[in-house]
Symmetry: C2
Subunit: 435 residues, 2 copies
Amino acid sequence: MEKTHVAIVGMGTVGSGVARLLLDHGDRLARHAGRVLWLNKALVRDLSKDRGISGLPAGVLTDNLQEILENPQIQVVAHLIGGIEPARTIMLKLLESGKDVVTANKALLAQHGEELFDRARSLGRTIAFEASVGGGIPIIANITQCFTANQIISLRGILNGTSNFILTQMSEKGLDYNRALEIAQNMGYAEADPAMDVDGSDAAQKLAILAHLAFGVRIDWKDIQRHGLEAFTIEDIRYAEKLGYRIRLLATAQLIDDNLELHVSPTLIRNGRPLAEVRGPYNAITIVGDAVGDMFFHGQGAGQMPTASAVVADMIDTAAGRTDITFRRLQLWSDRQCEIELTPYARTLGRYYMRYLVADEPGVLSQITGILGNYRISISSIIQHEPAESSDPSKVPLIIMTHVCTEADASKAHEAIGQLSSVDSRCFKLRVSEG
Amino acid sequence: MEKTHVAIVGMGTVGSGVARLLLDHGDRLARHAGRVLWLNKALVRDLSKDRGISGLPAGVLTDNLQEILENPQIQVVAHLIGGIEPARTIMLKLLESGKDVVTANKALLAQHGEELFDRARSLGRTIAFEASVGGGIPIIANITQCFTANQIISLRGILNGTSNFILTQMSEKGLDYNRALEIAQNMGYAEADPAMDVDGSDAAQKLAILAHLAFGVRIDWKDIQRHGLEAFTIEDIRYAEKLGYRIRLLATAQLIDDNLELHVSPTLIRNGRPLAEVRGPYNAITIVGDAVGDMFFHGQGAGQMPTASAVVADMIDTAAGRTDITFRRLQLWSDRQCEIELTPYARTLGRYYMRYLVADEPGVLSQITGILGNYRISISSIIQHEPAESSDPSKVPLIIMTHVCTEADASKAHEAIGQLSSVDSRCFKLRVSEG
């Protein structure tokens, strides 16, 4: 059987997983690829470190990128280093030396996708990136191959497993944010610096890639409005539960008449809806296509072997020749005209959950509902409890769920309410998923 | 842009949907295929029938298959006629005249797959069949492309939308089977003759295809043990609910140490598990791979446009060249050696739900539990209610949930219990999903 020589650049968690699949399950992979995927080189920073991979033939590990770039036998390279530099420079060098690349680095694609894809196209090379979004969930292949008869209408996903794990810990174990984060870090679900995961940036980078693929819109991920776990507290989780909802960090792309809404926000989702039931470090995505209807995917969004599974599937597709066919037709960082426009965030429509701490005195509710009325926001439900014994008895929590209104009106009303002298300055506003 | 001429054979529900996508959304499809899919001919039985498709150019409709077979321009044909003959003969003729075929006919593949795939391979042609299982859910592509780095360990699915719709009507609206079937027929979810849908045959045909793809085992679908909706009544649905379960018609393929269990059975699934939450005419599939972990898909398993979406995606893949690469490496009706053996049904392991109507007299429970004990079946829970006022007061329902045992032991014990003089002859035994 013919051999395709492959290499791995970066032998961290995912890289080691890819090496294990290549070494331990070569027969299985060869059957699907129609050729042997032969691990020729694996680039590491420190040659002396033990990676716990049995069966790694002598001479495979190297700390010299040139050994991969200058080896004409190597055709496919799994590029598994995180961050922007030197990841970007290395990917460019790989493409320029004639390698097809498979990557899991969504931050790099979100930031430099245009440059990298342009270079790959002009060199006749390919970049495959299934592992960059949704871990083991094959969302890229499904959008680019399986749903090609459809205009995608909406795409809503829980794309960050770290924040979903933290959210589940908070709601199911009653932990506060800091304690839940600590557990996520101890269990390896959160980085030492979890900022990008919990502030919505990681999900926004993934959403930018998916939205670009599915709708052709090109957007800098930094321009996607995003809120993270800072936007609410465990009290909001409890009130949401009383109302029959769960809070999830939701990435949304929604097409309405050639206008596309994009945002990442903690969102109340009604219990029982598939996205509300996603627990722990899992990811899930709902896609609606105009022909296929609604489709739901759920699986492990990160972790060594699920991500390695996606990387190796891409390596097989690349070796077998499918990636070449798909890559040339992607609506991703191409110069294809796009007729879809982005809806300014202020004009997006939604329902809202608002929580205030208000003085327990006459007239307050009338002031608040008056402000909402001025912005023509109608109220779908309202909860005002007596103060808990332990808390300040002169302040009571007030929760309002609105009907559909614009983000601009919701924000202005919310701000005006927060400025009332009878309302505490610490107040919260979250999106509510319709349906 | 280059054109690929395509044809449709069979302009029923799905065929008309495919024509609509080709005619109304040609630009979209061309973008993904890299070429225009040009509808050259559509074969119908009755030329005079109005199909309500606007924009069908003159001369496209024909009632003469030869016009397709003898037209060398036509490269890809959507073969959308049901049943075995003349569907089989027509597919062979299409392959022999040099056409690549896309089909939704799982009954034909399940019955004559070997002959058809052999012929296609020897002629250098391809057969794509995404629409044959799971309707709009791209389960074939996911198994054959996205999870190729994995050994699939298990595959469990609700593969028949008709029976799931009936089940949901029964459990949510309290209807009996006949009334629920009537509604399914009125809503177009069930055929005039629903036998294959409700007796598990349709699901067994789909399971045979999936098991063959995922595990390489070649099995005649008729050899897959299957039970359908006849195996229980609305009372079982109610008792299952009391125990915290729902009943679903589940197709199961489970690999244990190179031995594969295959069966289709009404199964109790714990509330909250994804498969228990599948309602109405939807399909859903859980796949476990040794690298990717567990993955869940949910979507419309039938219907005009979801099925047409899958057919057209296959036509795009075929025109673009991906199908050719994939088809040559499929573990489906190939002469590849398979090391996996099928577990005889009697040796499969499971938990069981058993329901009896027993005489309300001393000693009966001891007799029954004695029989279970003789077969070393231990009981996980037991319910015995007082008789309902309306029913025969001398008989009481008894429900037993067992721990894991073999199908053989469960069947023998169940039969022995049913033969006790104090037990009514009408008694029920269903599988219970573990976990």
